[in-house]
């Protein structure tokens, strides 16, 4: 693989040099006669050499395994297919064996001829184990045949791929080289290619999102065929049981999510915002250079560590000093624990984003306010915060999305018991925790108990999407007002 890329790169470079030279030559060495700078002619050739070849290479690498697998699967006798208990595992076995044989050849344990003549009555498993390749079970005749044909098809495919890719590269090079002439609008072509690459990148990002949503939609649809949607969206009970007949109500989970996120934001927004104001407006340069990185360290701590902090320190503390004396319960896992710790986690998000936003408020506005005899806090309150508000709202909503999606702190801080309760010192749980819960362990992906995870995931997606749209709306509204 690597050498293919290197060779292509070499061809591209060659194309660059050739194209440049030819362009200059066609202008008789006078670059002012050229339509574009000489570099553009070179780049034009490079692009035509590389782009089609690389595109085909990429597509080929995706399609070949699928095609080979299809045709090998079709070759396996139907009778044999039925005799094994798990037909999907059969293909895995074929792939492993083929890979094992290739490995053995690579490491010199088998010559290619020996590999071609492997017979199922010899102990292939032992032979390959000697070469450092472990197989799960003994190899049957059918699997061996399939594996050999798998190898053969792959080998042919790879050869053809090489031929096609290099032919394309050469063709591109030759075509572009032949077309290179002083009047060629090389710059426009290169600009166009740059545009196409940029557009391709953004399309890919969008397509990925669409793909994720579609796959979630598919499994969610399956779920709703097995479980009534009214019971999901309006159910007040969450009691899954893998024997069937579960209650899979969303409300307790959603309640837990929103309750915990709310407390987290209650902690993070004021502290983060005030910290940001202090950093941006009051702190001296020295203080800022020390304190800012310190706050940002908080953002680098893995959430599982926060979870441990919640479990070991904050939970018992809240239980012993607040919940028990107030008679509000005696569980150390609680909404309060998870909310506070999650809030601490979010402080650096809110503060560093808000800090940047406050810093980007033009100095001239501050000057204007000070020049009218305003104090620092009046300036912050009446000029800087209003000007920074759209950005700050964005920062807060970003923090909210993080809070809604957080899992680890909730598991360790608030527990895994789905409950619908107002008491913040009770254990509750969130949507994300239950998604993990429903998909860990041995799961049968056709049961509603497992599929519900996708419905939950989609619900979360819709909620965060709504939050983002709302954020955009607010930001726009303020922009219109103030720009």
């Amino acid at each position: 693989m690597l050498w293919i890329l290197l060779t292509l790169l070499f061809l591209g470079t060659l194309g660059y040099v050739l194209g440049r030279q030819r362009a200059l030559a066609s202008a008789g060495g006078d670059r002012r006669v050229l339509h574009s700078l000489p570099n553009y002619y070179g780049l034009n050739v490079t692009l035509l050499t590389l782009v089609p070849a690389l595109l085909v290479l990429g597509l080929w690498l995706i399609i070949q395994p699928i095609a080979v697998e299809r045709s090998v699967a079709a070759q396996i006798p139907a009778g044999y297919m039925e005799s094994v208990e798990n037909p999907t595992l059969l293909m895995t076995e074929v792939r492993r064996l083929a890979g094992g044989i290739d490995d053995a050849i690579d490491r010199g344990f088998l010559s290619p001829e020996e590999a071609a003549n492997l017979a199922s009555d010899t102990d292939i498993r032992a032979q390959l184990a000697g070469a450092g390749v472990a197989l799960g079970s003994d190899v049957s005749e059918e699997v061996l045949v399939a594996a050999q044909s798998f190898r053969a098809l792959n080998a042919t495919g790879s050869t053809m791929m090489l031929i096609v890719v290099f032919l394309l590269a050469f063709a591109g090079l030759a075509y572009a080289y032949a077309r290179t002439h002083k009047d060629l609008r090389a710059r426009n072509r290169v600009e166009y290619a740059v545009l196409a690459i940029l557009m391709g990148a953004s399309t890919l990002a969008i397509l990925t999102t669409v793909g994720i949503v579609l796959s979630m939609l598919w499994d969610t649809r399956n779920f709703f065929q097995l479980y009534p949607w009214q019971d999901f969206f309006f159910g007040l009970e969450w009691r899954p049981s893998f024997e069937g007949d579960s209650d899979l109500g969303l409300i307790p989970l959603l309640w837990g999510t929103l309750y915990i996120s709310f407390i987290a934001l209650l902690v993070a927004v004021p502290i983060g915002l005030f910290a940001a104001i202090y950093m941006a407006e009051y702190a001296s340069r020295r203080v800022r250079s020390v304190a800012k990185p310190l706050i940002e360290v908080l953002a680098g701590i893995p959430t599982i560590v926060y979870g441990l902090f919640a479990l070991i320190t904050v939970g018992p503390l809240l239980r012993d000093y607040f919940a028990q004396p107030l008679g509000l319960g005696d569980s150390s896992s609680s909404v309060m624990t998870a909310g506070i710790v999650m809030g601490i986690m979010l402080i650096p998000f809110v503060s560093s984003l808000s800090d940047d936003i406050i810093n980007s408020v033009p100095q001239s506005l501050r000057d204007g306010s000070y020049g009218l005899g305003a104090t620092q806090s009046e300036t912050v309150k009446q000029v800087i915060l209003p000007a920074a508000l759209p950005g700050i709202v964005g920062a807060v909503l970003l923090a909210a999305s993080r809070a809604i999606g957080e899992t680890m702190i909730v598991v360790l801080g608030a527990g895994a018991a789905a409950r619908l309760d107002l008491n913040p010192f009770e254990a509750m749980t969130t949507v994300t925790v239950k998604i993990v819960g429903q998909l860990t362990g041995d799961t049968d992906f056709s049961s509603p108990e497992a599929l519900v995870a996708f419905a939950l995931g989609l619900t979360l997606f819709v909620i965060t999407l709504g939050l983002n749209i709302f954020a955009l709306y607010i930001v726009r509204k303020y922009r219109e007002q103030y720009e």
Partner: protein, 270 residues
């Protein structure tokens, strides 16, 4: 109404009677880090007088203007030495609160900088912080009067709630003037207030300056010799951080004592 003003220079010159000193600077030096931007400058700002600062770009006019209301405090690397007084009181004394000083010595900046608020709130900003109005209608009066003085009222009276940032550049500059006037400062510092204005608005602002002179001192930075000659009674010429010449405007423009002043006003340097 603008015509009477534009042409008739002598009208202003007649009024130079009052000579009480409002602000006084002695031996002022300003440094931006290692840059020595103002070198040992002595200036007297007389009460009820318009003082013009002229000089080539980068000579330190804005910098010196900012000395007078301690706006340089907001620049980290800026250091000011020397003595500057407002009515005999050292404004750089640690006891002096720069916030209160700036309420007395207002400023209009070189670049218009309206707040991201409505036109009304922009002008009402100063009166609100300093508690200058008794009630809402009082505040509305102040806003209207200030906008009228800045020659902006007719253009914005129907959209006082529209954002100030939505005005044109020249309108924004007049909004900033109205904003500064609304706090009724004793000294008004104006840094090129007319650089973004058309001749009509310029004439209106000049008229305002002349009107302000009956109550306050005005210091104006300008690149227009004609404007300096029209509106000011005193003129200070800065060059490379030095105060080259400071005298009656008439004297500066008709009979300058320093050759650099002469070549600047006749257009040979700068």
């Amino acid at each position: 109404m603008e015509g009477s003003n534009m042409n008739d220079m002598s009208q202003f010159d007649q009024g130079v009677a009052v000579d009480t000193i409002k602000m006084q600077s002695r031996g002022v030096n300003v440094f931006y880090g290692d840059t020595h931007a103002i070198k040992d400058v002595d200036v007297d700002i007389a009460d009820k007088t318009v003082t013009a600062f002229i000089g080539p770009s980068g000579c330190g006019k804005s910098t010196f203007l900012r000395v007078l209301n301690r706006m340089n405090d907001t620049i980290d690397i800026c250091r000011v030495t020397g003595k500057t007084t407002l009515e005999g009181e050292d404004i750089y004394d640690p006891k002096v609160d720069p916030v209160q000083l700036r309420a007395k010595v207002g400023m209009v900046f070189q670049k218009p900088n309206p707040f991201p608020k409505s036109i009304f709130d922009n002008v009402a900003y100063g009166p609100r912080i300093h508690g200058l109005s008794q009630n809402k209608s009082d505040l509305e009066d102040i806003v209207e009067k200030s906008l009228r003085r800045a020659a902006l009222w007719d253009e914005v009276k129907d959209r006082l709630q529209a954002p100030g940032t939505g005005l044109s550049g020249g309108q924004q500059q007049r909004l900033c003037i109205a904003r500064a006037v609304a706090t009724s400062p004793e000294v008004l510092l104006m840094d090129e207030p007319c650089s973004a204005l058309d001749p009509i608005a310029t004439a209106q602002v000049e008229e305002l300056i002349d009107e302000l002179r009956t109550q306050y001192s005005v210091v104006i930075v300008t690149h227009s010799m004609q404007q300096a000659a029209r509106v000011s009674q005193k003129t200070a010429f800065f060059h490379l951080g030095n105060l080259v010449e400071f005298d009656e405007t008439d004297t500066i423009f008709t009979n300058p004592s320093d050759p650099r002043t002469e070549s600047y006003i006749t257009g040979r340097i700068g």
